[in-house]
Symmetry: C2
Subunit: 284 residues, 2 copies
């Protein structure tokens, strides 16, 4: 059974933030559009990996021949929601030579001395690349809002700055796909617990994760505001239920595949005389 | 049959440049140390992928806990030798979040205005990362020598500068593995021919590839000089026969696995009180 037959409805439409979207109404344990279980999901993921790798190579090929297109995947989530798994199992299917991964941590003093978009702009994908932001400029309106690292009017300014920035990025040829992995609070407890229970996973746990967890409702509210202010036609948000890791992975893979397919990429044509080069090669 | 049972001898020793190494004496169609065919090679590659991914996660984990170790794979080769396949099939098995890929193309005017190592230093792996140089500072003593882009005494200076640079990089915690994929001249013709024969591969061909092919012997000589001058105990060269893509992939994978295993990485221990955090989590 082919991968597409599992999808009853296009997940892109089901997951896209639009109209009067309410984060609180979304079920973190749902599997929108997918008619199958974990095993089916793994099969679909394996099949999609080949499709994604092929599309990415086409994008890369186009980039070497003057086409200015690129794709940017922005990943945001609460701790343990599965960003790492998306990077490993979805992004990992593509050729590392065409993927530009950027993980954003707590800003350095040099970064803080610049506008919040300064460090982000430097890590945008080049023509032909798939960029991946593991956290992003949205931290500057999420953690910054929850922990009052910036005054309210500065946060407001940032929403506008983000929209202006993303419109420019989009208009210069980058297809932007913004994903929030939406995890349930109970599921997060289980996952943090697992990290504490297994010594091999202790390194993944940080006491700060519990501090952030204690601000859960504030974060949900900050995310809702992000969706209200920054889900635009040129840079839409998708909220992906993340209690089932297998579902989140195939859903994000589907979003990436659709973004790449929408570019209608053909293999570039030769910009040299093929027969002439065959003759040169034969003589060499 | 486990992956290691295929190896009669440690390929690292067989492939390492040492003593009176002569590139011209090395068979590009050989499969040193491996007792198996293509199918066996593919099985070994699949098994090694999991091992490599696990080791890389340990390195990454150590990097998050203050360990200053990293690994740098340097890839050099003639066109079509299979660098791209190594990146995709060997490097691609690792989590993109811990891999720093750097492709070096013809230097930009800004790069040319600096010393040749300037652009390279900026793309070194950070602690915990596996860096991959797809071409490297060696272009500045290979193409630069063949095409006389720099005078002979400048090329001589560069060998010394490279050794000083690599010693510093090594002493600061980076394990350097330098690989030359050694392709036969006839095999290159076949691969270039295939790119000209298949319209979907036309984008991979560049008339300049034939120009470089016409300088084949000059390049082989330039590589020999590179091995003579820059294969050091702290940054050894490995010459990997590349006529069989499957062999080149498992050989480079083996080199990476050994480099990572030699670091004896353990999962970091908790730097917090596990029981205390369990109690906090339960109360949250």
């Amino acid at each position: 059974m082919g991968r597409e037959t599992y999808w009853k409805s296009d997940p892109d439409e089901l997951l896209r933030v639009a109209g009067d979207f309410r984060l609180a109404d979304r079920d973190t344990g749902a599997t929108p559009g997918f008619d199958g279980d974990k095993k089916d999901g793994q099969k679909a993921l394996a099949e999609g990996a080949g499709i994604l790798a092929d599309l990415q190579e086409r994008l890369f090929a186009a980039g070497t021949h003057g086409e200015r297109r690129s794709v940017l995947l922005v990943l945001q989530a609460m701790d343990t929601a599965g960003k790492g798994g998306i990077v490993s199992h979805v992004v990992g299917a593509m050729n590392p030579g065409g993927v530009r991964y950027a993980g954003f941590k707590k800003p350095t003093p040099e970064e803080l001395a610049h506008d919040f978009l300064w460090r982000v702009e430097k890590r945008l994908p080049a023509a032909g690349e798939v960029g991946v932001f593991d956290r992003s400029h949205y931290e500057d309106v999420l953690v910054a809002r929850v922990h009052e690292l910036a005054p309210p009017d500065e946060i407001e300014r940032r929403y506008r700055a983000i929209n202006d920035f993303e419109r420019e990025v989009s208009e210069s040829g980058t297809t932007i796909v913004k994903v929030m992995l939406h995890l349930g609070k109970d599921e997060q407890r289980d996952r943090l617990q697992a990290r504490l229970d297994e010594p091999d996973k202790h390194w993944k746990f940080n006491p700060g994760d519990v501090d952030e967890r204690l601000r859960w409702d504030d974060y949900q509210e900050a995310y809702q505001l992000v969706f209200d202010r920054t889900s635009t036609p040129y840079a839409p948000w998708y909220v992906v239920p993340a209690d089932h890791k297998w579902y989140a992975r195939i859903a994000v893979q589907h979003l990436l595949i659709d973004a790449l397919e929408s570019l209608n990429l053909e293999w570039p044509e030769a910009d040299y005389d093929v027969e002439e080069q065959k003759a040169r090669l034969a003589a060499s």
